[in-house]
């Protein structure tokens, strides 16, 4: 076959393997073709999580409940942190519900390359389907946590007058997208970098812990003043947590600008993440 023939039949090739793909060749259509795989991965994570445990799916309930109880006792009962006049239990549960979804998305996507090296080394499928499936399967546990929260929320609404739900609730899907986008974006950036620098893996574990204290999870934004307030507001998760409380509980000292800032941050992080991930996946097998 001469090169002219190849030129003539160029359009017939289904797949062209080249040294480096261009920055814009993200192959997102391929991800859609593999949607069955994504669903199966989601389902695998969900099933494998509680197989061979005594309490089974109940673990999805126990975790948020215990965390909230501990927070209520330590930060409310012992440290007497302000909760903006809200019932402490509900206050902490609201913060924790939101935060834990973001934290899970970030930590579970940040090891995509290193923990899947064995399978990535043998067969090709769009690498992005792994972190995407993580985001979705975490959505299931978020749904359960949210259900628990709503149950208590209804109870407190019937017994106390401190809670004022309002139309901000309609923003819940937006908040979800913000959390998922930020968690995924940061997670895949870190996972791309950990193919070269394993240190980052150490950082993620306690980094997420520390980041929680820079987010109004255990304290309301209203108690933060001065220079610290700016610092906390610079954290894009602040707007998400505060908006969630505002929507369901009715108190917050947040301006809508913060939410826009958070959305902008998400877009930037997500786009950078997808580009870097796409860049790294081509050759990471040579460096892992």
């Amino acid at each position: 076959m001469t090169s002219q023939d190849i030129l003539a039949s160029r359009n017939e090739w289904d797949l062209i393997i080249r040294p480096q793909r261009s920055w814009w060749d993200l192959r997102l259509g391929e991800l859609w073709r593999y949607r069955d795989l994504i669903w199966l991965l989601v389902w695998r994570d969900f099933v494998a999580y509680y197989k061979q445990t005594i309490l089974g799916p109940l673990w999805y309930l126990i975790q948020p409940l215990l965390t909230t109880v501990v927070f209520t006792v330590i930060f409310g009962g012992i440290a007497h942190l302000s909760t903006d006049g809200l019932p402490p239990f509900l206050f902490y549960m609201a913060g924790n519900t939101v935060w834990s979804y973001f934290a899970a998305c970030l930590t579970n996507t940040s090891n995509t390359f290193t923990s899947n090296a064995a399978i990535f080394g043998k067969v090709y499928f769009p690498r992005l389907s792994i972190p995407v499936s993580v985001i979705i399967s975490n959505l299931i546990s978020f749904g359960i946590r949210l259900g628990v929260f709503l149950a208590f929320w209804v109870y407190f609404m019937l017994t106390s007058s401190a809670i004022h739900p309002n139309p901000w609730i309609l923003l819940l899907p937006v908040l979800l997208v913000l959390m998922a986008g930020q968690g995924l974006g940061l997670g895949i950036i870190i996972s791309s970098l950990t193919t070269k620098y394993r240190d980052l893996q150490q950082l993620v574990g306690f980094g997420v812990q520390l980041l929680m204290y820079a987010t109004p999870v255990i304290y309301p934004l209203s108690t933060v003043t001065g220079i610290w307030r700016w610092l906390i507001l610079a954290n894009p998760m602040t707007a998400v947590v505060e908006t969630f409380r505002l929507a369901f509980l009715g108190t917050s000292s947040l301006s809508p600008i913060s939410l826009l800032y958070s959305a902008g941050f998400m877009v930037v992080v997500f786009v950078i993440g997808v580009f870097i991930f796409n860049r790294v996946e081509a050759t990471f097998m040579d460096t892992v």
Partner: protein, 422 residues
């Protein structure tokens, strides 16, 4: 020519050996600082600099390879260890990207680089079939269509709803191969999966691959088993040192491959350091009275010494070797579990295996030895094919003439008696 389904043009792959990142940010910063101040690299491996050529830091696993595969062709890719066969397959199956060059493919390509990829121990056989099928690129409907066939082929139908962690290793491998064998890609890439399972299952697998080829689909087959290549493939591609040595009819290419052995008394692994072998063969040598030698006499003993490196504790692994003659016939095989069938656990470290045997049964000629490490019937760990080649000279002087004229693979001197009947 409308029938071309794979077109490889000027494909090269280069691995960087010395300058892979140090693995930590701190390390890279150190190296960068040292370079900036004009000091030597603090992470340079001592002794490596003695080679003196910067070129030594790169390894061209493939260099400027071009070939085409036609629709329905079964192409056998052969070559010695480290020749670049696996790298070629990895590029074709998109596991890693080439350094330069292009590959154009028509139709869906699926690879069986290793079976059982992505099996989850907690899930049942049924669940894993769906998951594994999806990883290999099938959608749910396709797997559902093939489901009964897959279960049938694997022979584990009784246990299909049992978590695969309860499977025996043999069952696990059979199920995994069954899924892979029922993919229906236009192009199938296979790498030495036949090294798993028992003889009967291997036959089944070879048959299945033959069917795939007969159905007009294209098969790329990498194997060390020349008999399998000869029976399955119509075309052959011989790779050596990252370049195409020979291409053409399978029989012709195989004969080229077999004819090119020179005596070699010592083998050292040339694998790139990125390959992590659980029980890697580092070195193998032929010894005559503790001295490395490539020429032996039939009255002498040969000691085969194999040095292996264990990266992480491994159970039930064995070291084996095959002895082949010039005609590529297997003369015999042996494993370190021949006499002791223990399933020892090998802790990480370096081990030296030795096997000593007499050569008096062998005819004179050139022999080669394949060394391999595996967990029997489960997993092939490392293969060093034709790693050692030696000349055997017949020194049993009275029989010398006789021996050369006899037929057969081996040479025996048997005691005879003759008595008048009655």
């Amino acid at each position: 020519m409308p029938g071309t389904v794979i077109s490889v043009e000027n494909l090269s792959k280069c691995y960087r050996l010395g300058v892979i990142g140090t693995g930590t940010f701190h390390g890279d910063l150190d190296r960068w600082l040292a370079k900036w101040r004009g000091k030597p690299d603090p992470y340079q491996i001592i002794g490596q600099a003695d080679h003196g050529n910067r070129q030594g830091e790169t390894l061209w696993a493939l260099k400027d390879i071009s070939f085409q595969v036609q629709q329905g062709e079964a192409l056998g890719i052969i070559g010695r260890n480290g020749a670049g066969k696996s790298t070629l397959l990895k590029i074709l199956s998109q596991v890693t990207a080439p350094t330069s060059g292009t590959v154009r493919v028509k139709g869906r390509i699926a690879s069986l680089l290793e079976v059982g990829t992505g099996f989850h121990p907690e899930l049942t056989g049924r669940e894993n079939i769906y998951l594994n099928g999806a990883i290999m690129g099938m959608n749910r409907a396709e797997v559902a269509n093939k489901f009964d066939e897959i279960v049938d082929f694997s022979g584990v139908d009784q246990f299909i709803d049992t978590p695969v962690k309860r499977y025996s290793s043999g069952m696990y491998v059979r199920l995994a191969f069954a899924v892979a064998a029922h993919l229906e890609p236009e192009i199938l890439v296979v790498d030495e999966v036949l090294a798993v399972g028992d003889i009967e299952f291997q036959k089944k697998c070879l048959g299945k691959m033959g069917d795939v080829a007969k159905e007009g689909r294209t098969v790329l087959f990498v194997s060390h088993n020349m008999v399998a290549v000869a029976s399955l493939c119509s075309k052959g591609l011989l790779i050596d040192g990252g370049k195409i040595e020979q291409a053409g009819e399978a029989d012709f290419v195989i004969s080229k491959y077999l004819g090119k052995y020179e005596t070699k008394a010592e083998y050292r692994s040339s694998r790139s350091p990125t390959i992590k072998n659980k029980l890697g063969i580092v070195r193998a040598s032929l010894l005559k009275n503790n001295v490395i030698s490539d020429t032996f006499y039939s009255s002498e003993n040969l000691t085969l010494q194999i040095e292996c490196e264990v990266k992480e504790s491994i159970k039930g692994a064995q070291i084996a070797f095959d002895l082949l003659n010039e005609a590529d016939q297997y003369v015999f095989s042996s494993t370190n579990q021949d006499l002791t069938r223990r399933k020892d656990i090998l802790a990480p470290g370096t081990y030296v295996f030795e096997c000593k045997f007499a050569l008096n049964l062998l005819r004179s000629g050139k022999y080669r030895i394949n060394v391999s490490s595996s967990i029997p019937a489960i997993e092939m760990l490392d293969i060093a094919d034709s790693s050692l080649v030696f000349n055997l000279l017949d020194d049993s002087s009275p029989m010398l003439m006789l021996g050369q004229n006899r037929r057969g693979i081996i040479f025996l001197e048997l005691p005879w008696t003759v008595l008048p009947k009655g």
